[in-house]
Amino acid sequence: MRRSFETRLNRRAVIGGIGFGGLAASFPAWAAGSVKLPLPGGPDERQLTTAFPGKGEMILQRTHPPLLETPFEVFDQGVFTPNDRFFVRWHWASIPTEIDADAFRLKVHGAVERELSLSLNDIAELPRFEIAAVNQCSGNSRGLFEPRVPGAQWANGAMGNALWTGVKLKDVLDKAGVKSDAVQVRFDGLDAPVVDEAPDFKKSLDVAHAQDGEVMIAYAMNGEQLPILHGFPLRLIVPGWFSTYWMKMLSDIEVLDKPDENYWMKTAYRIPDTPGANVKPGEKGFPTVPINSMVPRSFLTNLKAGQRVAAGSPIALRGIALGGDCGVKSVEFSSDGGKNWFPTQLGKDEGLYSFRRFDGSLPSLAAGSVEVKVRCTNTKGVVQPDAAVWNPGGFMRNPIETVAITVA
């Protein structure tokens, strides 16, 4: 059974897979094979797809509206995630598939001195701003939660790093003149629910955050015009914060004179207001806050679970790390269950909010099983925790990752 099942899988089938509990099934003709994700208890098999415009091979989590995960081996290829492999996540099914660049306008209104209706060329005239930043879904790694929680069952591939080009949000807000009684700025995009009464997807940031000179409106991603699936023509970039705030197809900016109480701020995307957003499964009645800044993470990218390596010679380790809402201070590794930690060499610094490459070397090992752990400490001194946090939304996961390899 096991053998015949494996032969049905694509050559890159096992991405850190642990268990083997999936069931065989038939896939649509356009599927490009399948992959197993390390989702405890399953179902752990997903189709690979190349059917989405502008996308290479992606893990299909949902066709409509699209949820596409980046196959993990892409993260071994560099700190910038190519646009055609970058994860995709849409909330509502009414997604414009045709956008006229000349007709598009970004509206700025609310508690401002002057309402604005900006064309793309108006925006391109503002001073250009560029930043490398990791865009990570709030629910990245949700599928790894134990006990499992409902929602998009991502493994670790709902994240990516890009060089974003555009203008500072501050410059656009200054053009409109934010009034002194403003408290938050709300962002809306062109996507819409199928049912009119459903809550349109909108997100807000505090005014001071919106004006910090880092939050920006991007029109290009890794040097190319934004693809539609990534929010053409404009996308909000909130460096260091989870991507729920990174509004795609940004078309409307509303400056608010009172805190935003819309569903997507007040009810959805909330995390426990506890250290690490951690609560006990089943716990109720804890206070919550809107999800906000990211936490440090690090991943080995050149070693996969179950990989066999040669005994008697050093083993190269490499991977990527992010500091979260600040830079990466260090990445260390351990091969003795976390008793002793050794430094890695950090790669080129592409900016505080970018992925950072690390390289290390495991001394030659005797034959047997070895668990390799990596942990990131960010420049604020926050270290990845030993144990994974748990919360009902499946948010904020960032434990020290462990990859079990076989030395033979």
Partner: protein, 110 residues
Amino acid sequence: MGRILLAAIIAIGAAPAFAEGQAPKPMTFTSQKIELPQSERMFPGGPEAEAINNNCLACHSAGMVLTQPKLTKAQWTETVNKMAKVYHAPVAPEDSAAIIDYLTNLKPQP
């Protein structure tokens, strides 16, 4: 979708606003059009899948539902109620119970 149409109407008569002598190469934008793949996948099963196939597929395809981990009846009830009450999915009350039963009995599959 209405907003795009509105934007198109507003744009009539608006001149392009390229400034001369600005930064070396100002960004230029090209209109985009794509076609998204559609899923024809139905929830498997006979009559017991009728309610879920009739009520759920307009807003989302079946794949993500069928790849959820095993969830309890209480968890599925919460999800189906959220779809109906918060997201205003037009689910008839008599169909809700059938959908919850279907999902609770679902054997997770790829």
